[in-house]
């Protein structure tokens, strides 16, 4: 019997659509409205057209944070994705060891963002922090509050500590989903470990890696709390990322119009890069 085919299942998406409309679409539309007006208070606002966009697009402070943001997100992906795969490959597949590994890996994910910042702020201090003190005792001049390179290193290390687990857990679940038959076939062919990884595990991990890359990209591109607590954007502006610049503008100076324009540009960049990642990783699926 041929099953009737309809599109009625789409109605099931309606509740989600309503929720997303309230939590994302309507606020986003409001931001668009803000971005083309000069707002003084609830009743006094003037239409300014594209003025804020022009100002934002030519603001060197924002160019600098955008460049820093891309370097940061790029480094995060380059470190965390391979490291996460490596950790997942080294984890025991079954037995009590795997449970312990999973628990340990899940721990950093449970720590609230501002607590992560505080942990690393104290951990990295040269006088009372174990990490900073140890480095300085080894003769390495390390001070994340004064040296931009040290600040960058600490922010990156903190992010790697916090989020590599996520990639590792995703990859671990992906690895466990590969049927044993593949490995048996590989053994019959006397495939090397590298060949097993390259032609069995990596292709099978593609879907979880796609989620991992997207989540880590979006999350690191929006990072705010951790560097804010750890370095406050300093020394100077060396670890001021986009969201921190935006917050300063919107909440600190209360420039709703420029901040709105900035948010829209920010949103468009995230949308573009996420779409590029998604397309690059899925466009061969149909072939």
């Amino acid at each position: 019997m041929i099953k009737p085919y309809t599109n009625k299942a789409w109605y099931l998406v309606l509740p989600v659509f309503a929720l997303v409309a309230f939590s994302a679409i309507i606020p986003l539309m409001t931001v668009v409205n803000y971005s083309i007006q000069d707002i003084f208070d609830a009743n006094t606002r003037y239409f300014v057209g594209t003025e804020w966009y022009r100002e934002i697009l030519n603001d060197t402070r924002l160019h600098d944070s955008l460049v820093r943001q891309f370097i940061f997100s790029g480094s995060v992906l380059l470190i965390e994705i391979p490291l996460g795969i490596l950790v997942a490959l080294m984890m025991p597949a079954r037995g009590p060891g795997s449970v312990v590994c999973l628990l340990v890996l899940a721990l950093p994910l449970l720590v609230p963002l501002n607590v992560v910042g505080t942990i690393w702020q104290i951990f990295g201090r040269a006088d009372i922090g174990l990490f900073g003190w140890a480095l300085n005792s080894l003769g390495i001049n390390y001070n994340y509050a004064a040296n931009p390179m040290d600040a960058w290193f600490t922010v990156l290390l903190m992010d790697v500590w916090h989020w590599t687990s996520l990639v590792a857990l995703l990859c671990y679940s992906g690895l466990r989903a590969i049927p044993d038959a593949y490995y048996q076939a590989a053994r019959i062919d006397r495939a090397s470990n590298w060949a097993v990884f390259r032609f069995i595990q990596l292709p099978k991990l593609k879907n979880v890696l796609l989620i991992g890359v997207l989540l880590r990209f979006m999350d690191s591109f929006m990072i705010y709390t951790e560097p804010f607590v750890l370095t406050g954007g300093g020394p100077g502006n060396s670890t001021t990322f986009l969201s921190q610049t935006l917050t300063k503008m919107a909440v600190g100076q209360f420039d709703i119009g420029p901040a709105g324009a900035f948010s829209i540009i920010y949103f468009l960049i995230i949308l573009l890069v996420s779409w590029l990642f998604y397309t690059a990783m899925t466009h061969n699926d149909g072939k």
Partner: protein, 90 residues
Amino acid sequence: MNWMAWTTPSALFFTGIGCILFAMTCWELKSPCVARKGFLPITTTRGDRLFIGLLSSAFIHLGFIGMTELSIWLPFSVAVVWLFIVMKWG
């Protein structure tokens, strides 16, 4: 609606987007589309091409606003032509 700080241009913009989405839905119901390959390097459906066209249009506008002092209608016309090209041959 005052809290959303509506202006006529932004209302027109969102109405336009809404109309496009509605028209695309009707079109899809009337004649479901088949994914195909045009001049873009990937296989796309009609909706994909609309998304690509709209997103690139946004960047066309930003480019014109950021780099030139020209009227907003110029990038708008470029974007409309570009959207048409992507939808037809993309």
